[in-house]
């Protein structure tokens, strides 16, 4: 007996979940492979959004097409950041790497603020405001695009990890770094590749985020929490888990907004994450270490 008015928030929640899943994808990869929390993940997502903004306003490039330029750039940024900065802290333990990514997120957020002002911006395209009519309900077209993009991103990452040589080396490094090193793998290089791939997907998330919602430099922390939520709810190392995590989070927000009011929309999502952290930090699908 679902009430009629409940259907739109449920549809929107599921579709929004797709966007959240792709935001969390990169964080989950880094967390799973390196056991490292990348606090700069949200900042890198917003990096993607701002690059999309620059390409849109300066070159007039459609953001979705611009991904071809944005994602490889972020891959290089990630590779360099891991190779020359984070790896040095990573050798010292979990806390220094946590703190160095915090430093990077502060640097990025303040750089964005200096360059783009603290005001909200968005990627304005003709299709971003279109609605899609399904029966009596109208859902934003961009939500559907988000969902499709997220699905494709998942498939690509799945293929990358399971069917390529790079993926094989990343999985080796994640399972047993010492053994991988003994086999002659350049583990620093693999970690750098991992962060690069993570940021590749983060930037795709950033572009779709920019198309869906307005963003400002401070959003980097908001979306960091979203990414955490996805990882914490879904659990590590499982693509399906990340997808489900995104959808649970999306639903908790839209339903939270439906039942508690718009002011507490994000509150409901955060509470779900917090409870999940306390009860089952390895996530719904995760395996306890």
């Amino acid at each position: 007996m679902i009430s009629e008015s409940l259907i739109p928030p449920i549809i929107n929640g599921i579709l929004l979940g797709g966007l959240y899943a792709v935001i969390g994808l990169g964080l989950s990869l880094v967390f799973g492979v390196m056991k490292m929390v990348n606090l700069a993940h949200g900042a890198f997502v917003i990096f993607g959004s701002y690059m999309g903004l620059v390409l849109l306003t300066v070159l007039g490039l459609d953001p979705i097409i611009a991904i071809v330029l944005i994602a490889p750039t972020l891959f290089v940024v990630g590779y360099i950041a891991q190779k020359f900065l984070i790896n040095r802290a990573y050798r010292l333990g979990a806390e220094p790497s946590l703190l160095i990514t915090y430093g990077i997120s502060i640097i990025l957020a303040n750089l964005f603020q200096q360059i783009f002002s603290p005001y909200f911006k968005s990627l304005v395209t003709p299709y971003a405001i279109e609605g899609l009519k399904i029966g009596p309900y109208s859902i934003p077209l961009i939500y559907v695009l988000d969902f499709i993009a997220s699905f494709i991103a998942m498939l690509v990452l799945h293929w990358l990890l399971n069917r390529t040589y790079v993926g094989l080396s990343i999985r080796c490094a994640s399972q047993d770094p010492v053994a991988a090193k003994l086999m002659g793998m350049r583990i620093d290089h693999v970690y750098a590749l991992t962060l690069g791939i993570s940021l590749f997907f983060a930037s795709i998330a950033g572009v779709f985020l920019g198309l869906t919602f307005p963003f400002n430099p401070a959003s980097s922390f908001t979306y960091l929490f979203i990414a955490f939520g996805v990882v914490v709810i879904g659990g590590l190392g499982s693509m399906a888990g990340t997808f489900i995590g995104g959808i649970v989070l999306g639903l908790s927000q839209t339903l939270g907004s439906y039942f508690l009011g718009v002011g507490l929309q994000t509150f409901a999502g955060f509470i779900v994450i917090f409870i999940m952290l306390a009860i089952r930090p390895q996530g719904i699908f995760g395996v306890k270490e």
Binding site: K35, V37, L39, L85, R88, A89, L92, A94, E95, P96, L98, L99, I100, Y102, G103, I104, I106, I107, N110, L111, Q113, Q114, F221, T222, F225, F228, V232, G261, G263, L264, T266, F267, F270, I271, I273, F274, I275, L277, A278, I279, P281
Partner: protein, 331 residues
């Protein structure tokens, strides 16, 4: 290296001299600007010291201190706004409320280990911000109270007494660190930080040690935050639960030197210098601090003090400051 301590007679007397000089500053009529910078320094020093107690000595990398600061600030604001309670009683109540809040939250938080603890505490700031942004306790017609507008805080304190309050909080935080580290609790904490399982095997009650340090740190963080909000005269959710507070604590401790007693003092001085003394470039200070943080972690992880400790001059200075009577100063 870790526990090269100030076992000072000379050191204590030095501290006493510094306190007396600082206390005399308003009397001899120093410009308010100087006092203002020192006020900020002492408030930040207390925050940094308490964060150092958590992250440097207890292994609790809490990123949620702004939440407790905000809770204390809001409590004092509402006690003064709605009930007109005497100022010092309200301050005490605010610290107690923040500590109680921390005690209740420690049940779920302490279930989260290591990095999960950091994520959980970081999440607290955001939860509190959203909640206080939405919450309007008693609707006062015409007056914007609660929600995004926040509360006014009328403390009625003169700038000079605010300065003395901050001075007291800052100095107490230094002495408190000294006291805790010398006590059994401090020894237990350091054992836990170095190896939690080994410490538990040796009969240290890990949970209790961590809880005590968490509660003590929350209490004094709350106190420092109250002093700051008396100065600011206003509290609203966006600023109160802002990541900026975390920047202050984290940068001061890491840049100065984590797990050292002198580190936060040096680090706080750098943070305050960058924030207050560069007036035209204030917007760049977080950027510079972020770059400094990354440089410190990659180049010299133990911070500036860690770097200094490798030099001979500093060693000599420390030996001079340590009184001759103590035998166990250096390890």
């Amino acid at each position: 290296m870790k526990a090269k301590q100030f076992k000072l007679n000379v050191g204590y007397s030095l501290l006493a001299v510094v306190v007396i000089i600082m206390a005399l500053l308003p009397v001899i009529g120093v410009r308010w600007y100087v006092l203002h910078v020192l006020f900020v320094f002492f408030v930040y020093l207390a925050l940094a010291n308490m964060w150092n107690l958590l992250a440097g000595y207890s292994g609790l990398v809490s990123l949620g201190q702004p939440a407790f600061m905000g809770i204390a600030g809001y409590t004092v604001a509402m006690l003064l706004w709605f009930y007109n309670i005497p100022l010092y009683l309200a301050t005490l109540a605010a610290c107690v409320v923040a500590t109680l809040f921390a005690a209740i939250l420690s049940i779920p938080l302490f279930r989260m280990r290591g990095l999960y603890f950091s994520i959980g505490t970081l999440l607290l700031n955001e939860i509190c911000r959203v909640w206080f942004n939405w919450w309007r306790p008693i609707p006062v017609p015409g007056a914007p109270v609660g929600g995004g507008a926040g509360f006014g805080i009328v403390s009625g304190l003169s700038p000079t007494s605010l300065y003395y309050l901050a001075l007291a909080v800052g100095i107490v935080s230094i002495l408190l660190m000294r006291f805790i580290l010398k006590s059994k609790l401090g020894a237990g904490l350091m054992a836990i930080r170095d190896n939690e399982k080994a410490a538990a095997t040796c009969g240290i009650n890990v949970f209790r040690c961590k809880l005590y340090s968490f509660l003590i740190a929350t209490f004094f963080t709350g106190l420092a935050s109250c002093v700051f909000y008396f100065f600011q005269g206003h509290i609203e959710p966006k600023g109160a639960f802002s990541i900026t507070w975390l920047n202050v604590m984290l940068m001061a401790v890491i840049i100065g030197g984590i797990s050292t007693e002198e580190g936060p003092i040096v680090g706080t001085a750098i943070v305050v210098l960058l924030e207050q003394i560069l007036p035209g470039y204030a917007q760049y200070s977080p950027l510079i601090l972020g770059i400094l943080l990354v440089i410190v972690i990659t180049v010299t992880p133990p911070g500036i003090i860690g770097l200094l400790r490798k030099t001979r001059t500093y060693d000599t200075l420390l030996r001079y400051l340590s009184s001759t009577r103590t035998k166990s100063g250096d390890k």
